[in-house]
Subunit: 225 residues, 2 copies
């Protein structure tokens, strides 16, 4: 698991952004950042009679996306079998309201990655994958919560997907109207959307009161910006 020796993904038939290509980005760091920001990815695969998508929690290590599930999971077995898969993340940042309905838009950040699943078997790589998953849910959690025991590790299938090809597509900024429409008496602007991490709610089934750990507050501050 090493960093790709390139700063951008090669443009291919597959990852060429056709609509509004000025919003496209094939930069490796951009794609990685978007996969890091998204809480989950949509995993697309072909399962006769057609395409199927399942949203899955993911983590990233270098240029690989880590997926995990039960060893008994049909989906995980399919991913493990090495069929071609597509991983897609998207986040909405705002509603862009223009004077004409035609130019209404969303501000968003999205990325698509293509690759093939592979089972992670090496013990050190498995531990690293478990740590990446735990760290994605909550940085600092690996060191505090109980780590997987032998039985739990056996029940967990870990797969990596080396990103063979990818593209990002991002829209930011304000409304863009046709010249004549600026004369219209219609409010135009952006209604920003933002995910907030709210105050943690302690498990009412806890046997005793335990203070909310500092790493949760820190993560909240970082995410909430």
């Amino acid at each position: 698991m090493t960093k790709p020796n390139k700063t951008s993904y090669d443009k291919t038939e597959r990852n060429t952004v056709r609509r509004v290509p000025r919003r496209a980005d094939h930069d490796v760091d951009t794609v990685h950042r978007l996969f890091d920001q998204a809480w989950f990815c949509h995993v697309g695969f072909v399962c006769e009679p057609g395409p199927t998508i399942i949203p899955m929690f993911h983590a990233r290590i270098d240029d690989q996306i880590i997926l995990h599930g039960a060893t008994s999971s049909r989906l995980m077995m399919l991913i493990a079998s090495g069929v071609p898969i597509c991983l897609s993340v998207a986040m909405v940042d705002g509603l862009v309201l223009t004077r004409s309905l035609f130019h209404h838009s969303l501000n968003y950040r999205s990325a698509d990655a293509f690759g093939f699943g592979e089972v992670i078997t090496d013990p050190a790589s498995r531990t690293r994958a478990f740590q990446a998953i735990a760290g994605k849910v909550m940085p600092g959690r690996w060191d505090e919560a109980r780590q997987p025991n032998e039985q739990e590790a056996k029940a967990s299938l870990l797969c990596s997907v080396q990103i063979e090809s990818a593209s990002a597509k991002i829209r930011t900024g304000g409304p863009i109207d046709d010249k004549d429409d600026y004369q219209l008496d219609v409010w135009a602007g952006v209604v920003p959307l933002q995910e907030q991490m709210l105050t943690p709610v302690s498990d009412p089934l806890s046997l005793r009161e335990i203070a909310i750990p500092d790493y949760i507050d820190e993560f909240r501050r970082n995410r909430n910006g």
Copy 2:
């Protein structure tokens, strides 16, 4: 475009939820609600050499999902051609932190729908689809913003996807740990995630000051809860 004459989608090989089936729901209203709540859906289709996913803005009319794009768009032409597609929406509501890493989870709402795209050609249905799209971005906007002119209408390909099969999967609630782990001195609970619609930002390119319309404030209040 009529309401389905059923309250739940038939369970088939395709839409059977295999992992944690107690979280599954095939109720028509639940699936519709989730598609209404999501700002966009992930559209999955097969485009050799494999599966491809594109996030797209959507609206819903009865049991149909409405997709739109440029008539020149390859994606829209593919959807219009009637190939099998999968539509997937997912929203995260919280990080579920358990005492063991193994039982960490997310609270989420997701739905998958399967169907085939069909071009909307009938003028009345096209107008209804345009209205549904405008009303999804912002209820009330259709009546205020400039409606599509002939040229814009010609440039817009509208497709409907009748939901042939669908399922929802939802997780709510607190952490669930193995019995022995409740003794551990580890904080457990939920960190809620919530999308907030922030204060609208007026377009700095506006020729004069126009007050933010009431329907935007109302929509914000409704979405922010």
